[in-house]
């Protein structure tokens, strides 16, 4: 998916100057690819969560099941449509990137843990690996989209911190280590959904005429 995105990036750059339609079309394509990628990522996380719930936690819907908050709870994210539409594009984009950055390392460690556990079958192990990789690729893709948008002037370049998203999470670096695997899956499942939804909203706000 990354290769396709990169190729689309190149295609986007192939547009000659002054052809806004071509650029927007290429931006729309970029968004579509990114959205598809995020959808796939969320699907994998959903599958993993269901499997984990089935094997490791027979009792469901326990009060206080989530013993701890997700480490990404510190990231303010719109939790409603109005909030999501009300927020600025740049903030929305920033939130997306923050989320993607925040989950790269925890998922990698999660995958390492799952590979060691005998209970997990190969299928789940492959999914955890794929999931961790997709987070990384999706982040790069979103960064490309942001650059495209900034080039098009869709969003202003006030987001200087996007270059180093890791700085945003410096304080939150170690929190995820306190979470158990189930909580990780739970939290990531939700966050991947947020990412996908935010990307859709962002696209339909910027390019409403293409599939919205």
């Amino acid at each position: 998916a990354l290769c396709s995105r990169l190729s689309s990036m190149r295609a986007a750059s192939s547009c000659t100057n002054g052809q806004t339609g071509c650029h927007f079309l290429s931006l729309a394509n970029l968004f579509d690819r990114v959205i598809q990628h995020s959808a796939r990522m969320h699907g994998i996380s959903n599958d993993l969560h269901s499997e984990f719930e089935l094997y490791f936690l027979p009792s469901k819907n326990q009060i206080g099941r989530v013993s701890r908050n997700c480490h990404t709870s510190t990231i303010l994210t719109p939790n409603g449509k109005e909030n999501a539409q009300r927020i600025a594009r740049e903030e929305l984009t920033e939130v997306i990137l923050k989320l993607l950055v925040a989950w790269r390392e925890p998922l990698w460690h999660f995958h390492q843990n799952m590979a060691q556990h005998r209970e997990f079958n190969n299928f789940s192990s492959n999914k955890s690996l794929e999931m961790s990789e997709m987070v990384h690729e999706l982040r790069r893709g979103v960064q490309k989209v942001v650059e495209k948008m900034q080039m098009l002037g869709v969003i202003n370049s006030s987001l200087g911190n996007l270059g180093s998203p890791e700085a945003l999470l410096a304080s939150d670096r170690a929190e995820w280590r306190l979470m158990n695997d189930y909580d990780l899956l739970y939290c990531f499942r939700r966050d991947s959904n947020k990412i996908q939804n935010y990307l859709k909203i962002l696209k339909c706000r910027i390019i409403p005429e293409h599939g919205c």
């Binding site: 539409q85 939804n197 599939g211």
Partner: protein
């Protein structure tokens, strides 16, 4: 009184208590089956199933807690969604927030808490059914199809990308029970083909968010498909006709190829084909007939072809003809070999006899025979020619010529000439030595030779020295014909045999034919036959005149018994002619007619009184008796 009052009060109190506690007055049961749904991911509603109420009015309350907070909230709206429900409006709905919901049933007796339920709005989205479902029947090239279109439910905001919906369409015939489901993705239109003409369809549409529940099916939209029978029917007719056509072609090809394949697999056995052989005849005929059919056929040419052959023969005079004759004779020889042993029978045609010798000449037969055949052939050829040209000349010449070579060759030639020349004739007729017959004579001559046994033949052909023979020759007809052939006159015996074997005509022929033609057996025509007996080496050949009684001086061929030796005695009496036996003498029709007398010494014993007569007299007498006297010749014997 007071006691009665207390009893009644106690009784009333007991009744009251009983009523209060006896009829299901219990705490309410626990509510169950809490389910929440959100139609647009902006609000959601929870329903629960109340338990037993315990006989008392029970109130239900829903309490919820959001994650990360211990604050308990109660349902803001119990009415909007109906009974035993709680509606969460947008203000209180937070997406991606975990709600912990608990329903509490309360009655006067107690409370009941339901099991808590965790929900997240994102995963409980169940949209409303698609709206404005429109189904049209579109006529496109006489093939109608359904055009279905719809709109997303109003509540779901898909334009902002807040919700992404996926659609499904299903349809069925009105009177059937099976639905056909077609996925439409995120599109809002769909075309459906392969419709049954004249059928009525029901179409329904539903939708689902990317992570959520399917909506209910939209209300059915009915549509009737017009009938388009003709096109379908005509298409099937065309297909059937085409298939039938192909089938016919296929059958025809199989049928056509069947024969060729059959011929290839079972090739017809070629029947035997032998020229001149009738297969049916062989199957049905008798053995004799079969053999005869095998044998006769066209070889040797026996019947009416001889004259033609004769003619042909006569014409060709050069040795080349010999080859022809030899070729012709070859087949004859084969046949003759088969049918006759080396002997020539009366029954067998001359041709066969000749062919026999020819055969031997040709193939691996006796060399002698071969040589004979060659020579004979040549001579025969020569004879034929000569005969045609001029008899008389030949007659004269023959005495000189012909005496030559070996017996074998003469025989051969004769033999060769025979078959081609002669057709077997039952009788021999005296025929003067006429021109017309020269060819025949030649043939006859040859045939006669062939008739002789091999033993006789050689003797027959032994030829005296040319000088002697010549002398003799002059008297004889035979010379004329056989001038090239050195047929000894000796064949007198042979001639006799011939004559004897045959009828008298043969003899006549013998005499008749100047050339030493053998008296042919049956095959030769009497007129044609001239039996000329040549003089063998020492002796002259006597031609016997017609009457066997006549006795002519004969020159003896050492080979023939019958011939009397001729001793030429020069005395006053003239020639001394040994008496000879009854010999069949060839008559020569030569005008000169030197008979035996000329050749052989005339014995004085001859009937004619020789006394007082000079030498010639007895001879002459004799000759006169025979009718052939040629004094000149007689005296000229030695000259020959």
């Amino acid at each position: 009184m007071k006691k009665v009052g207390e009893v009644v009060l106690l009784w009333l109190l007991i009744l009251f208590i009983h009523n209060a506690a006896g009829e299901g007055y219990s705490p309410p049961g626990k509510p169950t089956n809490i389910s929440c749904r959100s139609p647009e991911k902006e609000t959601f509603t929870c329903w629960w199933k109340p338990g037993s109420d315990g006989g008392l009015p029970t109130t239900y309350a829903l309490y919820y807690r959001k994650e990360g907070s211990q604050r308990v909230f109660e349902c803001p709206d119990y009415k909007t969604a109906g009974k035993n429900s709680c509606f969460f409006s947008k203000n209180v709905t937070f997406v991606w927030v975990n709600y912990n919901i608990t329903v509490v049933a309360t009655n006067s007796r107690g409370r009941a808490f339901s099991d808590p339920v965790d929900i997240d709005v994102v995963y409980i989205v169940k949209p409303n059914p698609p709206e404005e479902v429109v189904v049209n029947v579109t006529e496109d090239k006489d093939w109608p199809f359904l055009q279905v279109s719809w709109k997303p439910p109003k509540m779901a905001d898909t334009r902002s990308g807040w919700i992404t919906l996926f659609y499904e369409v299903r349809l069925k015939l009105e009177n059937k029970n099976k639905w056909e489901v077609v996925s439409a993705g995120q599109r809002k239109t769909l075309q459906i083909y392969s419709l049954r003409s004249g059928g009525t369809y029901e179409v329904q549409v539903r939708c689902k968010p990317d992570h959520g529940f399917w909506s209910e099916w939209s209300p059915s939209s009915r549509v009737k498909v017009p009938e388009y029978f003709p096109q379908e029917r005509s298409m099937w007719i065309l297909i059937v006709v085409f298939a039938a056509f192909i089938l016919i072609i296929f059958i025809r090809m199989v049928y056509m190829n069947f024969h060729s394949v059959k011929r290839y697999l079972l090739p017809p056995v070629p029947g035997p084909k032998i020229k001149g052989i009738d297969k049916q005849f062989l199957k049905s005929g008798k053995s004799e007939d079969i053999f005869s059919s095998l044998v006769v056929s066209d070889f040797p040419p026996t019947t009416s072809n001889y004259e033609d052959f004769l003619v042909q023969y006569l014409e060709v005079y050069v040795p080349e003809e010999r080859e022809l004759i030899m070729n012709e004779g070859k087949d004859l020889q084969d046949d003759s070999f088969k049918t006759e042993n080396s002997t020539c029978d009366n029954d067998s045609g001359r041709g066969s006899c000749d062919s026999h010798t020819l055969l031997t000449d040709k193939g691996g037969g006796d060399k002698e025979d071969g040589q004979q055949s060659d020579q004979e052939g040549s001579q025969a050829e020569a004879d034929t020619k000569s005969q045609e040209e001029a008899l008389e000349e030949e007659l004269l010449a023959c005495s000189h010529e012909n005496l030559q070579s070996s017996n074998v060759s003469n025989e051969k030639e004769k033999v060769k000439s025979w078959p081609s020349l002669f057709s077997p004739l039952p009788q021999y007729s005296f025929s003067p030595v006429n021109r017309p017959n020269p060819p025949k004579t030649g043939k006859q001559h040859c045939l006669s030779d062939s008739l002789f046994t091999p033993n006789s033949m050689p003797s027959y052909f032994t030829q005296p020295g040319p000088s002697t023979t010549k002398g003799f020759r002059s008297n004889y007809w035979e010379c004329s014909f056989d001038h090239k052939q050195s047929h000894p006159l000796h064949p007198q015996s042979a001639a006799h045999e011939h004559l004897q074997a045959q009828n008298d005509l043969n003899t006549a022929h013998v005499d008749y034919m100047g050339a030493p033609l053998d008296v042919h057996v049956l095959n030769v025509r009497p007129s044609e036959y001239v039996e000329v007996q040549r003089v063998s080496v020492e002796d002259g050949v006597l031609l016997h005149p017609v009457s066997p009684s006549q006795e002519d001086s004969r020159t003896l061929s050492h080979q023939t018994e019958d011939y009397s030796r001729v001793r030429v005695v020069n005395n006053d009496n003239g020639l001394l002619l040994l008496q000879r036996d009854a010999i069949e003498e060839e008559k020569s029709m030569c005008p000169y007619q030197e008979d035996v007398v000329s050749r052989a010494s005339i014995t004085p014993t001859l009937q004619n009184s020789a006394t007082g007569i000079n030498i010639a007299l007895p001879i002459l007498d004799e000759m006169a008796a025979s009718g052939y006297i040629d004094t000149a010749i007689m005296f000229g014997l030695p000259t020959h």
